[in-house]
Each structure stands twice: as C-alpha cells, then as structure tokens.
C-alpha cells in the first residue's frame, strides 16, 4: 500500500518537474523569440503593415480599384439623367452625345430618348454595362426612398433549403419560403422545394404562399429560422449572402430586384478562412525555424543532455506559439462576434498547423526545405478547411471543415457535440499523432542526421515501433490521416457526376488505406524488424496491421452521427469500414473488412520485405483487391 502511495507521489513529483521544465523552456523560447527580432525591425514592419492597410483602406473608401476604368465611352448629354449614371460608373466614360461618332470614339450614345449602339462586340459589352449601371442606379434610388414599402412592394424571405442525401432538396421546410406582403396584396412565388427530382438544388425554397401581413423591415433583416449551414440573404454579418456582392456579406442592404438574387456562395467561409488562417501562416514560420534551429549545428544537443525529456522540450517550445495562435483566434472570434465555440473550433486547426510544422521542422534538412514543407502544410490545411465549407447547402460535407462550426456559431444555431467531434476530431488526433512521431525522432541519433524527408519519416515511424503489437497501434493511429484524406477526397470529388466520382473515390480510398496500413511495416523492415524479413513475418505483421486498422476504423463511426453515410459519396468512402445505412448490413459487414485489411496489408508487406520498388509494386495488387472489395460493397448497398 505504502509502495503504491510512494509510486503515486513519485509520479506527481515527476509530473510537477515536467511542467516546471515545460514552463522554463516556454519562457526561454519567448525571450529568445523576442530577442531575435530587434525593435527597429519590428517597428518598421508594423509601420509597413499600417501603411499597406491605410492605402488599402483609402482605395476602398475611394470606391475600390477599378481595372476597367473608362473602358467604355457613352455619349450622353450632361442634362440627361443618364449622365449621372455614367459618371458614377468607373467602367463608363461620358462623352458628348454625337450619334455620328458611334464606333469612332463612343460605343453607346443616349439621345432623343433612344439608345444607339455601335456595331461591335465592344459596343454590346458597353451596352450591357450601361444597362447594369442604370439598374443599379435605379435600385439605389429606390433604396433611398423613405417609404420602403412603396419602393419595394413585395418582400420575399429567401431560405436556401438544406440539400438532403444525394442532392435531393429537403422539402420539409415548405413554410420557410413564405413571402410576406407589405400591404400591396399577395404574390405567389411558387417555390419549388419539396418537388425536386433529386438532381436540382433549387435555391428558392419559396414554395409557400405569400401572406399579406408583416413588415418589410422585419423580413428583410430577420435571420431567425434560417438554416445555418446554408445561409440566406438575411444571415448575420458573416453569413452567406443571398444577394450578390459583399454588401450582403457584411449585412448591407438586402433590398433589390429578383435579378440580384444569386445562389449561395461561401463568402463567410472564405472570409473566415482568411481571417483565421493568415495569422497561422505567420506564426508557423518562426515556429518551424525554432525547431530547425535546434537541429542546425547540433544546437539542441545540450538540451537533450539536460534533465528534461524530449517531450517537455517540444512542449515548452510549442506552448508560446500555440498560446499565440489561440489568442489571435480568440481576438478574431471576438471581432466577428463569435463565442468560445468559434475558438474551440479553430484551435484544433491551429494545433494541427503547429504539429505538421513541427514534423516538417524535424524532417527538413535546410530552411529551404522547411519553407517548402510549411507552404505545403499551409496549402493542404487551408484547402481541407475551406473546400468542404464551399458546400454550404450540404451540411455533412460542410461539417468536414471546422469553419462550418464557426459559421454555425456566428449564426447562433448552435453546434452539437457530435458535429464538434466530427469536424475537429481528426485535427485533435492528427495533431497528437504528429507530435508523437516528431518527439520520437527528437533525439540525438535522428535530429542531426542529414537524411532525406522520406527517410526521416520512416525513422519517425520506426521510433514508435516497439515490437509487433506496435504495428497494429501505428495502423490505428493512422486513422485520422486516412480520415482527413478521405474526407478531402469526398469534398473534392463531390462536384463530379456520381458515375465518375464514386469509382474515383473508391480507388482513392483503397490507395490511401493500403499505404497507411503498410508504410510502417515497410519502415519496420528497414528498422527493428530488419533481421526478420521472411514471408512469415510479413504475413504476421500484415495481419496485425490490418487488425489495428480495422479496430481504428471503427472510430470513424462518428461519421454516423452527422449523417455522412446518408450521402452516396459518404457511403462509398466509409462503407468498407463496415458502416452502412442499416445496422443489419453493418453487422454483416463487420468482419469482412478485417479479412480485407489483413489480406491486402499482407500482400503489401510481402513486397515490403524486399526493396522499395517491390513494395510499391506489391501495393498495386493490394489496392486493386481493396478497390474491388469497395466496389462490391457499394454495389451491394446500392
């Protein structure tokens, strides 16, 4: 009993000591980072940023930068009401209204209550621009009317219905499209939601009747009841605009003509990606440098010989950057009206940014290589976070990105625990695994070698291979990356026709999974299992890897919680995991994936016992078998 107590005390002492070491290294990292940039340089940088901001702000205030300024010339009398339109439109330049100069100095002439157009393509474009300008001008005038109901007698609340599985528009929200007359009677907007054939994503959703009550002001600004993932014209400040342009984006006027109604575009996600990710890109640069600096000229050797663990060193060096990113994220969230939910949604992205950069810093041999790695990380993670968010009208797809959680938060529609787990789970687990891999090679024997990035990656895998069981563990730990790759594949292929996207996806999924299951076996045969390169060892390790992957794959059951398997593409991506639309089929498929994974990984492992070329060659039949299985499962499921 006392021995146990002593062990507990010892563990507590060790934990306290570890935390103290982390805090010391973090303080030191902060003081060093501050010391690296001298104050004058920092001040100049800040000044340059402010200057750039001021120039940008001034340009915006002046009406923005118009690359097509005065490209079309319109002949119009200064007394004409159209003169004002031409003058206020950057692309148009006012000229005297001389019809005989058509085609020779002017493209369009407004005279005698007629519009004359030269016979050229440019003139047609000029006319189009002129018409748009006139329409905008008229709408602006209408918006200035004090009696809004007189200017806009019909008010329509737009609701973009959530697209249900396989692209069918949900019909259960028929009442959402109710137009609200404002005293001028009723108007049937004849919505189409609910009668979709499954191929069209009808944006109107205004299938209900209109009523003659309510006020225009209410409906024009009300966001209540609007689906958060799909957005509407009246969404919050960063909601998806119903009317084209940034005016809607930032809560500008929502009055206009039907011509102004545009399909939803994820401006919100775009802006959020910009706001949250730009600071991350700034922070990962010094973080990657500080990690690589420890490896240049063996600088970090002395920390390794100090009484602190590699994990404490890494934690201490990472903590200031993580804190900075969370702080900046909190500031951005505060600025855009987000709650702690937004911070909690973006923080795991920041963690993965840092984790991937850490691994990059541990693998890169030079700052040039590190730059390549960090840019790749930035592009990949930005794509992963942004691309799914494009599909704002397909919630399960959009939820792949944590940015969608931010949109939900901003629109006040709430985020469920399942949604949070689905969106951020891969980021959390992925970060942990990457840090674990990086810490595994944070030791003298690996830190200071000049091996190539792929070999360093194999070293990192080998650092975590401690016996056969660890092969299964590593396979299971590969799941978040497989998950991320497959979700990204789903998001990228979503735009293609189902006949094309599903076969492509099935092959992509097979390839991703086969590599994830076997690459550490290949590494092991060049590391701890180098003296066991027989076919028996290959089969044993292949089977263990398949088992580990099978068990880890069950974790992807979280996708059930957000309904991704309800999508055809989602079913295709995850059906091999035994996740099916019905429990019965799921049970039936429970053990089949185990046999599949064990078999295909054994095939690849047999190749891994030899050289790289043989391993890559063995991957081909493994992928083929896996893809065939996927096709069979998908065909069975319909």
């Amino acid at each position: 009993m006392s021995g146990r107590r002593e062990r507990v005390r010892s563990a507590i002492r060790a934990a306290r000591g570890g935390l103290r070491a982390v805090a010391r290294i973090a303080r030191w990292e902060v003081s060093r980072s501050v010391g690296v940039v001298d104050r004058r340089t920092a001040a100049l940088g800040l000044l340059a940023l402010l200057l750039a901001g001021a120039v940008g702000g001034a340009a915006t205030a002046a009406g923005g930068v118009a690359l097509d300024r005065d490209v079309y010339r319109v002949g119009v009398d200064t007394d004409s009401p159209y003169h004002e339109v031409v003058v206020e439109t950057p692309a148009l330049a006012a000229r005297p209204p001389e019809v005989d100069r058509l085609g020779r100095g002017v493209e369009v002439v407004v005279a005698d209550d007629h519009v004359y157009v030269a016979d050229s393509r440019k003139a047609q474009a000029a006319l189009s621009t002129f018409r748009d300008a006139v329409r905008r001008h008229n709408l602006d005038r209408l918006r200035e009317e004090r009696n809004e109901s007189a200017a806009f007698p019909v008010v329509v609340t737009l609701r973009y219905a959530e697209r249900t599985p396989d692209g069918v528009v949900a019909g259960g929200e028929s009442g959402d499209g109710t137009g609200t007359g404002t005293g001028t009677g009723t108007e049937d907007t004849s919505g189409s939601a609910g009668d979709s054939d499954g191929t069209e994503s009808a944006p109107s959703g205004a299938d209900g009747s209109t009523s003659g009550s309510g006020s225009g002001a209410d409906t024009a600004t009300g966001a209540a009841g609007v689906d958060a993932a799909t957005g509407s014209a009246a969404d919050g400040p960063l909601g998806v605009p119903g009317f084209g342009g940034a005016g809607g984006l930032f809560g500008g006027s929502t009055s206009g003509s039907p011509a102004d109604i545009s399909p939803p575009f994820p401006f919100g996600a775009l802006v959020l990606a910009f706001l949250f990710f730009v600071p991350m890109n700034f922070v990962i640069q010094p973080y990657g440098s500080t990690i690589l600096n420890e490896r240049i000229n063996r600088r970090g050797e002395l920390l390794l010989v100090a009484p602190v663990s590699p994990a404490a060193i890494v934690a201490g060096k990472t903590l200031p950057y993580l804190a900075t990113l969370v702080g900046v994220t909190a500031l951005v969230a505060l600025a855009i009206g987000g709650s702690p939910v937004s911070v909690a949604a973006v923080a795991p992205i920041a963690a993965l940014y840092l984790a991937a950069t850490f691994v990059g810093g541990m693998f890169a041999r030079s700052f040039k290589e590190l730059t390549f790695v960090t840019v790749s990380i930035s592009v990949f993670l930005t794509s992963y976070a942004f691309v799914p968010a494009i599909f704002t009208n397909v919630t399960p797809i959009a939820l792949i990105s944590p940015l969608t959680l931010v949109v939900h938060d901003l629109q006040g529609t709430g985020v469920t625990a399942a949604q949070y787990a689905f969106s951020t789970g891969p980021f959390y687990v992925g970060s942990a695994v990457l840090f674990a891999l990086g810490v595994g090679v944070y030791r003298e024997e690996d830190m200071f070698t000049q091996r190539s990035v792929p070999l360093k990656f194999l070293d990192a895998l080998n650092s975590r291979l401690k016996g056969r069981k660890s092969v299964a563990v590593l396979s299971a730990l590969a799941i978040p990356f497989v998950f991320i790759a497959e979700l990204l594949a789903v998001a990228v292929l979503f735009v293609l026709p189902v006949e094309v996207s599903i076969p492509l996806l099935l092959v992509a999924v097979a390839a991703v999974e086969e590599v994830a299951k076997s690459v550490h076996v290949y590494a092991g045969f060049r590391g701890p299992f180098a003296d066991r390169r027989g076919w028996k060892a290959a089969l044993v390790l292949g089977a263990l890897s398949g088992l580990g992957f099978f068990l880890g794959e069950k974790l992807t059951a979280v996708v059930q919680l957000v309904g991704l398997p309800d999508l055809a593409l989602g079913r295709a991506a995850f059906s091999s995991a035994g996740i099916a639309a019905t429990p019965a089929v799921g049970l039936l498929l429970l053990l089949a994936p185990l046999a599949l994974h064990a078999t295909t990984t054994s095939i690849a492992s047999l190749g891994a016992t030899r050289d790289r070329a043989t391993y890559l060659a063995a991957l081909v039949p493994a992928i083929a078998v896996h893809a065939a299985y996927n096709f069979a499962v998908v065909s069975t499921l319909g």
Partner: protein
C-alpha cells in the same frame, strides 16, 4: 564513478562501437584517444545518455546512463560549441542553471565564479559576437552550472589556439583536483599524455589498449637502445666521432658489444628511448589488434 561494460553501437550493418569496457574512478581524468571514426564520440554519447547503446551498459555516479536523473550529476561538453548565439553568456548560463533546478542565488554565484576563473569577459555580449575561444569557455562554464560530479568532455581543446588549449587543459586538471571525475577524448595525444591519469586507445570501434600511460608503454611499447661504439660496426650510423646502432632488445646490445670488440673497439655509451603514446597509438592503429586483456 563511471562503469562501462560491453558497450556496443551499430548503425544498420555498421558497427560504430563493438564493445567498450572500462571504468573511471572518482577524481580521475580518463582519456579516450583514437583516430577519426574510432568510436570515441559515440562511446562518450552513450555514456552521457544521448545515444542508446545496441548492447552493453554504462552507469554514471550510480545511475544507468538512460536514467534522466543521471544527467543531474553530469556535465557534458560536445566537440562543437553549439550555443544559442542570440543569447548572452550570462542569460545562456542562467537558462541552463534553471533547467537543472539550481536555485537562483546559487546559480548566480556559481556562474560568476566560473566565468571569473575562465577569465571570460563580454558576459553580456551576444554569443554570436564573441571569439571561438570565448564560446568554448562558455560551453565549459555551462557544463559546470549544475556542479556535476562527472564531466564528459569531447575534444575540449578542439580548434583552439595553443594558448587557450593550455588554459583549458590546466582547467581540466583543476577540476580533477577539485574532486571531479573527467572523461575526455582527444586527437592530440600530447594532451592526453600530459593530462590523463589513465587512457583507453580506441580503433575501429574497439578499445585496443587501456591503463596508465606508463602501463600502456610497458605493455604495448618497445624501448629502443641506442648503442654508441668507438668503431664502425655492421648496421651502425655515423654520429660525430662515434657510431650508433639502434636495437630493441638487450640481447642485441650484447651482440653489438661483441661486434665492436671484434673490430678492435668498444661500446662507449648506451642510451634508452621510451616510446611516446603516439608511437604506441600508431602501432596499435596499424595493427588494430584487440586488447589482449579483454578490453574489447
């Protein structure tokens, strides 16, 4: 204080160290010499817990080399002086003292004392701006911030000018006199011979000889006898008005004496020349024979 038993390290198929065995007593300076690639640095790093041995064991101050607690008793100086060049000497040493849980006042006093002893000026100048000798002194000071019982110095005088080298070697002697145990490696055999109490010679990852310098000389070296004769004899070289024959055994001396007598002359002088450590090292490195006393 340091016990090394069958220490072995292989990188893939390459054996960097094939089985070092030796021990270092408290208050002793123990030197490891050997050519480049002999396995000296790898051996030191395994003892310091930086590199995991493939086989064998090393204990330092009673702790296994893999035990993090061992590091509190150890001061390690790598061959290079990889300092954080944006820090000052003082802040650099403060940081490491903090890492070793040295109380602030104790650390300040100890750091100042060490820097004074090492005559290290420019304590508040960035380390990137000081000379190589100064950097080496800072690195040595860093190895002492935790007042360790054991010091492992890898080529402590590497790349230093003769003046600073002598300074460093003298400082190592002082450390020994202060009760520290010092294990260090060197290329320069003179440094080892002049400083070390005992020596191990490594070649191709193996300890091929060990002991005090006289012991090694006696065991592995051969004493030359220079026999001076009044008349020319077979094999003799002219040495002024005399002639000299160099032989390696007393029996050969007697043979020279007989030849001189046969030629009507005599042996007028016999001198011995002890082999230097370098002579022995070169012989052993050429032969690469394992230690006959089981050192390998």
């Amino acid at each position: 204080m340091i016990e090394v038993e069958g220490l072995r390290k292989t990188y893939g198929d390459f054996p960097a160290v094939v089985g070092s065995t030796f021990d270092v007593d408290r208050g002793e300076i123990f030197g490891i010499v050997g050519p480049n690639g002999a396995g000296k640095t790898t051996t030191l790093k395994m003892i310091a817990g930086l590199v995991d041995p493939s086989a064998g064991s090393a204990t330092v101050a009673g702790f296994d080399a893999s035990d993090p607690e061992m590091r509190r008793s150890l001061g390690f100086l790598p061959e290079e002086s990889p300092l954080y060049e944006d820090m000052t000497a003082r802040s650099y040493l403060d940081f490491f003292a903090d890492l070793y849980d040295v109380p602030g006042e104790v650390a300040t006093e100890r750091i100042e004392r060490t820097l004074d002893r090492l005559e290290l000026d420019h304590r508040d100048r960035r380390l990137g701006d000081v000379s190589k000798g100064m950097k080496r002194k800072v690195a040595i000071a860093r190895s002492l911030v935790n007042d360790p019982d054991v010091l492992i110095y890898d080529e402590p005088a590497s790349g230093l000018d003769p003046l600073t080298t002598n300074y460093v070697l003298e400082f190592v002697r002082e450390l020994r006199d202060a009760g520290k145990t010092v294990l260090f490696s060197a290329h320069n055999l003179y440094h080892v011979e002049s400083v070390c109490d005992r020596v191990a010679i490594m070649n191709r990852g193996d300890v091929v000889a060990r002991g005090t310098v006289p012991e090694i000389r006696e065991t592995y070296g051969t004493t030359d006898y220079r026999v001076f004769t009044s008349v020319p004899v077979e094999g003799a070289e002219s040495a002024g008005d005399r002639h000299v024959v160099t032989v390696e055994e007393m029996a050969a001396v007697e043979a020279v004496r007989q030849r001189a007598a046969d030629a009507g002359g005599e042996v007028v002088d016999i001198r011995t020349r002890e082999p230097s450590l370098e002579d022995i090292f070169l012989d052993l490195a050429a032969d690469a024979e394992p230690d006959p006393r089981g050192g390998a």
